[in-house]
């Protein structure tokens, strides 16, 4: 019987894992994050690669909107087309991550950008924000330097409307949120009943459970 119950819970664990896209604190949602390099087509002699931990490794194409794993914080690399072996890279992608890591750490032909990208993260489920798309610009690319800056971010809301927020001169604005993003104009709107109802029901639930636990403990002691 115990084995059957164990099996059931292991199976349910995997089923639940495959059904849900994420585990996050209740009342929160992930904002979809993408980015695009606006002027990548101006550098036809180079290949641009997005590389970071947790499987982020992608060749960037002109006009491509790129998404990466939420907990990855990748960098963009550039390499001259003449120095780049696509076949070898594709093989590396399929192989061990340490080999790929070594490729990015030791290849002298790769030029690493200073800009580390991060996802937007979580917001309250009442927040109307649905998506954040960064528009990046290559400011400088020479033999040793790759300077990429964040030009603007396009926020899309759940009702389909969108707005552009321009980053400051250095790629950073004065009012920031979520690790370097300009603050969206529209923020969380709580229905008036929400907070008090949440607070009260949560508190009552906890209190009831605690009372039941105390009753059980007292009964066990008396036995």
């Amino acid at each position: 019987m115990k084995k059957l119950i164990s099996l059931f819970f292991v199976l349910s664990l995997f089923l639940v894992s495959s059904v849900t896209a994420d585990m996050m604190p209740a009342g929160h949602k992930s904002v979809r994050y993408t980015f695009e390099i606006e002027n990548i087509a101006d550098y036809p002699d180079h290949v641009f690669i997005l590389y970071g931990e947790i499987g982020t490794r992608e060749i960037l194409e002109p006009g491509q909107e790129v998404h990466f794993y939420k907990y990855s914080s990748p960098y963009i690399y550039a390499i001259k087309k003449t120095d780049f072996d696509l076949k070898n890279f594709e093989q590396l992608k399929e192989g061990d991550y340490k080999v790929m890591e070594n490729y990015f750490e030791t290849n002298p032909d790769l030029i690493k950008s200073d800009l580390q990208l991060t996802n937007y993260g979580m917001v309250s489920e009442f927040d109307p924000l649905d998506k954040a798309k960064d528009v990046l610009k290559i400011k400088l690319l020479d033999e040793n330097n790759l300077l990429i800056v964040k030009d603007k971010v396009i926020y899309t809301y759940e009702d389909g409307t969108s707005e552009e927020k321009v980053y400051g001169q250095q790629g950073i604005t004065s009012s920031l949120d979520h690790g370097g993003f300009p603050v969206p104009s529209r923020t969380t709107i709580f229905p008036p009943w929400t907070m008090s109802a949440l607070f009260l029901s949560g508190f009552l639930l906890s209190l009831s459970a605690l009372i039941l636990i105390i009753v059980l403990v007292v009964r066990r002691i008396r036995r």
Binding site: K2, I5, S6, F9, V10, S12, L13, V16, S17, T20, A21, D22, M23, M24, P25, A26, G27, Y71, E125, T194, L198, F199, S201, G202, F203, L205, S206, S208, A209, L210, L212, I213, L216, V217, R220
Partner: protein, 100 residues
């Protein structure tokens, strides 16, 4: 919204119960009730604390300590053992959120 909360709670409960059951091999019916009650006590409070801007790690630490204490009282085992169970169960649920 209620469904989201319910789903999150069930997910947390199923995971914690599975882990504690695997590790402790206690009577599953009793353990089911205990873990359910313990989660019903800690989960809403933890979410409220998080909602009002509490530090995630501090909240998790409090949850681990509280669940360890309650397991000690209910299972009548040593606190350090129950603290270990609580620590592993909460650690796994937290780590899984990074993996999925």
């Amino acid at each position: 919204m209620i469904l989201t909360y319910l789903f999150c709670f069930i997910l947390t409960f199923v995971l914690e119960f599975s882990i504690i059951f695997f590790l402790s091999k206690e009577n599953w019916k009793e353990l089911f009730l205990y873990v359910l009650l313990i989660n019903l006590f800690t989960w809403p409070l933890a979410n409220l604390a998080y909602y009002f801007g509490g530090n995630f790690y501090l909240i998790e630490l409090n949850v681990i300590l509280a669940e360890g204490l309650l397991l000690t009282l209910l299972l009548r085992k040593k606190y350090i053992y129950c603290l270990g169970l609580s620590f592993i169960a909460n650690l796994v649920t937290a780590l899984l959120s990074f993996l999925i």
